[in-house]
């Protein structure tokens, strides 16, 4: 009798243990997107190209001046009072620092290898260089400090793990990667509240950042119909649809409304 009770109790204990394991698998989330491992022969210099110009209508808000009086070493790097880079406008209402990427149309299941060259993010003069950039999933970002003072680099992300690390000395570097596509991951320095950078993390190489004249170019697209999305930190997003057949070059100009 005693033995029986023990076996029942023991069995229930085992079941409890097992059930915990079961629960874990039941509630497991869909697996996170895997970093690109296999390369695709169609993605290369060959293929179609989307080029265009990013513009805006209306009046661009003025970028606030940055008070660097607390940081003499940064202040000394500027001849005139530096400003934030919220809206960087070029001639004829051209808009720089817009992240443009293919948001739909790349066949599912197609994977791309991340470039082995890292993207360098420099903290210089208490500003980020570049201010907006893209990387591929798994691609190294080398964060370096060119200022002889404390910066912390905080990543605010939802699909990726956020982090917050410090670089109190000039010459410090740190290499980070992001594991999941996310547009955008915000990077900020809390010591200097004006320091913001934005990184678009993509599973493919089909992205670009508009230059000072608003122009951009996405190359190597296989034939297909694509949705491209343009993201700007103040003006939101714009989309366009482009169909590529062969190795042609298509134009897609996008216009934001300043508000």
């Amino acid at each position: 009798m005693k033995g029986r009770i023990f076996s029942v109790v023991g069995g229930m204990f085992l079941l409890t243990v097992c059930s915990k394991g079961d629960r874990g698998t039941v509630q497991a989330a869909p697996p996170a997107p895997q970093p690109a491992v296999s390369s695709d022969p169609t993605a290369g210099a060959a293929g179609g190209t989307i080029t265009g110009k990013i513009k805006f209508t209306g009046v661009a808000p003025k970028n606030p001046a940055i008070d660097m009086s607390e940081e003499a070493a940064c202040k000394a790097k500027y001849k005139t009072t530096p400003t934030e880079e919220n809206v960087v406008a070029g001639p004829a209402n051209a808009l720089a620092n817009v992240f443009i990427y293919v948001s739909a149309g790349v066949p599912a299941g197609q994977t791309f290898t991340a470039p082995t060259t890292p993207v360098v993010l420099d903290q210089n003069g208490c500003r980020y260089h570049p201010h907006v950039f893209g990387v591929m999933v798994g691609q190294n970002i080398e964060i370096k400090n060119s200022d002889p003072l404390l910066h912390n680099i905080k990543a605010i992300a939802k699909k990726n793990r956020p982090f917050n690390v410090s670089q109190p000395n000039a010459g410090m570097t740190k290499t980070v990667t992001f594991a999941a596509p996310e547009v955008m991951v915000n990077l900020e320095c809390n010591v200097h509240g004006w320091m913001h950078a934005y990184v678009g993390v993509r599973p493919d190489p089909f992205y670009a950042v508009s230059g000072p004249d608003g122009s951009f170019s996405i190359t190597g697209l296989p034939p297909g119909t694509y949705t491209i999305e343009a993201w700007h930190e103040k003006f939101g997003t714009q989309t366009a649809t482009v169909t590529i057949a062969g190795t042609e070059s298509k134009t897609a100009n996008l216009t934001f409304a300043a508000h």
């Binding site: 989330a29 996170a32 607390e70 905080k154 793990r161 956020p162 410090s166 109190p168 410090m172 809390n190």
Partner: protein, 511 residues
């Protein structure tokens, strides 16, 4: 076979619901039904409750960006997060309940189910010896400066650094840099080890970064970072301050009027904690002033109270305006139209009854009532040397007494700290409304403080309950003379007895 399966299903269901039940009963009120940190209590808190959906945790043993271990999470559940609204649950929930709720909390984020996200705790080692030595503290201070702690925590560590007004957490809520003089309020604990661990891991989701890369990149040795932790620990009292009910004011020959008069160093200091005013609308759940350190002395005819409190800002200070805006945005307002953020001054109030009560009856602690007013000294950073005396008849009614009847005041603001000395004659010409101070009596006293740069103003303030002030009476000279006299007499008598006995002995020998 089928019954065994049924049993499995039943137990599994029970097990899942166990954690959920505990969570729903004890946690959801603040953390929300879906773990998003948005329960009904959330809009009354700064810092707000944890949003579990992002799996971003401050208190970890793992590098920045990694998930916490189960032990890390259990520690926060068991001990709570000091200095926040999160209590410890070790004594309220069973081991099983805490484990169940821990498992349930992890289900709010998919990161915990991702097998590539395995937390790897840092091998911390232990503190090098000699942590309290002057040399260790000098080294700690040197690196406190060089690695930039002062940018947020300030030159003297009171959370008043140049970047302090701009600080936000990941969700854009306002966040204070910790006041390093109050280690009993450090979220993850106040020991040297706790501080070192936070330096290594950072507090994810907040502006506090990890400093591990400094060691990995050989810019700092492990020992040097430990010295920083030891220096930070040295800023707080050795023991968490204990609240004593009676504030003794010894008798002094002269009255120290200046806050930094050296005469104050010999006077005992008392700690009175303050809490948010949550009795009357508009209630205030996020007070910035955590307490006051008070010293008191009196002379034959006057009294001096030295009230010291930490405040990150010398208000009114326009650089804190955006911070006030974020505070108001985070906290739910109880008024239909909340005031716009403004640059309010800092205020401090000392409260007494109008007269020393003969029995145990005291006026209502929170600014008296219409029928039983209280006598107050209201000090403001806007005037500094001209506090106003008056009668409060409830929280929203203050009648100043005639100009010039207030106490004299001197105030110093120094690196995140106010030091104010208030002085007044013991006697009062208007005994009906101005308390005459008497020695040897228990005089009720209470304290209030508000930080204008935290949006505090009017009923939005920090308050204490009643304590007592006792003006020690001069000890009569006979208290000192009587025992000496008694001793001399006893000695004299004893010697007399011995002398007589010796006389007799020698007389017998001669016989």
């Amino acid at each position: 076979m089928t019954s065994a399966l049924l049993l499995i299903v039943l137990i599994a269901a029970q097990d899942t619901s166990a954690g959920k039940q505990v969570y729903t009963k004890w946690c959801a009120g603040c953390h929300g039904d879906n773990g998003a940190g948005d329960g009904p209590g959330a809009r009354h808190m700064i810092p707000p409750p944890r949003d579990f959906t992002g799996a971003i945790y401050q208190i970890r043993s793992t590098p920045s960006g990694q998930l916490p271990t189960d032990a890390d999470l259990l520690r926060s559940i068991d001990e709570g997060l000091f200095g926040t609204a999160m209590p410890g649950w070790k004594s309220r929930l069973s081991d099983r309940q805490r484990r169940d709720v821990l498992a349930y909390i992890k289900t709010f984020s998919t990161f915990f189910a991702d097998t590539t996200q395995r937390p790897q705790p840092i091998a911390f080692g232990s503190a090098p010896g000699g942590g309290g030595s002057a040399e260790a503290l000098r080294v700690g201070r040197q690196f406190y400066d060089s690695i930039g702690c002062r940018k947020c925590h300030g030159d003297q560590g009171r959370g008043d650094g140049p970047s302090a007004p701009t600080l936000k957490d990941d969700a854009q809520h306002p966040i204070f840099a910790a006041n390093l003089h109050e280690n009993w309020r450090f979220n993850g604990g106040g020991t040297v080890g706790d501080i070192y661990h936070r330096l290594r891991t950072g507090l994810d989701g907040t502006p506090m970064p990890s400093f591990s890369d400094l060691i990995d990149n050989k810019f700092l040795t492990d020992e040097q970072l430990w010295r920083v932790a030891q220096y930070v620990r040295s800023l707080s009292p050795k023991e968490t301050p204990v609240v004593r009910d009676v504030l003794h004011a010894p008798l002094a020959k002269t009255l120290p009027h200046a806050p930094d008069d050296s005469a104050w160093t010999a006077v005992d200091v008392y700690w009175f904690p303050l809490v948010g005013q949550i009795v009357h609308k508009e209630r205030w759940f996020a007070p910035a002033v955590t307490g006051v350190w008070v010293k008191a002395v009196h002379t034959a005819d006057s009294i001096a109270l030295r009230v010291v409190w930490d405040d990150r800002s010398e208000s009114p200070d326009t650089s804190w305006l955006p911070f006030v805006g974020r505070v108001f945005k985070t906290l739910e307002s109880e008024d239909s139209t909340r005031e716009q953020p403004a640059s309010w001054p800092d205020e401090m109030i000392v409260q007494f009854p109008v007269s020393i009560p003969s029995g145990m009856e005291r006026p209502y602690f929170l600014m008296g009532s219409a029928s039983a007013p209280v006598y107050q000294w209201r000090w403001s950073s806007a005037t500094r040397t001209a506090p106003v005396a008056g009668l409060a008849r409830g929280i929203d009614r203050f009648d100043p007494l005639v100009v010039g009847s207030g106490p004299a005041a001197q105030a110093v603001y120094d690196h995140g700290q106010w030091r104010v000395v208030l002085t007044r004659a013991l006697a009062s010409t208007d005994t009906a409304s101005q308390l005459p101070f008497r020695t040897g009596r228990a005089i009720p006293v209470a304290f209030f403080a508000s930080d204008g740069s935290n949006g505090e103003h009017g009923s939005r303030m920090a308050i204490s309950t009643w304590y007592f002030l006792a003006l020690d009476e001069p000890v009569p000279a006979q208290v000192f003379i009587s025992p000496v006299l008694a001793m001399v007499l006893t000695l004299g008598l004893g010697m007399l007895v011995v002398w007589r006995a010796q006389q007799k002995t020698s007389y017998r020998r001669q016989q």
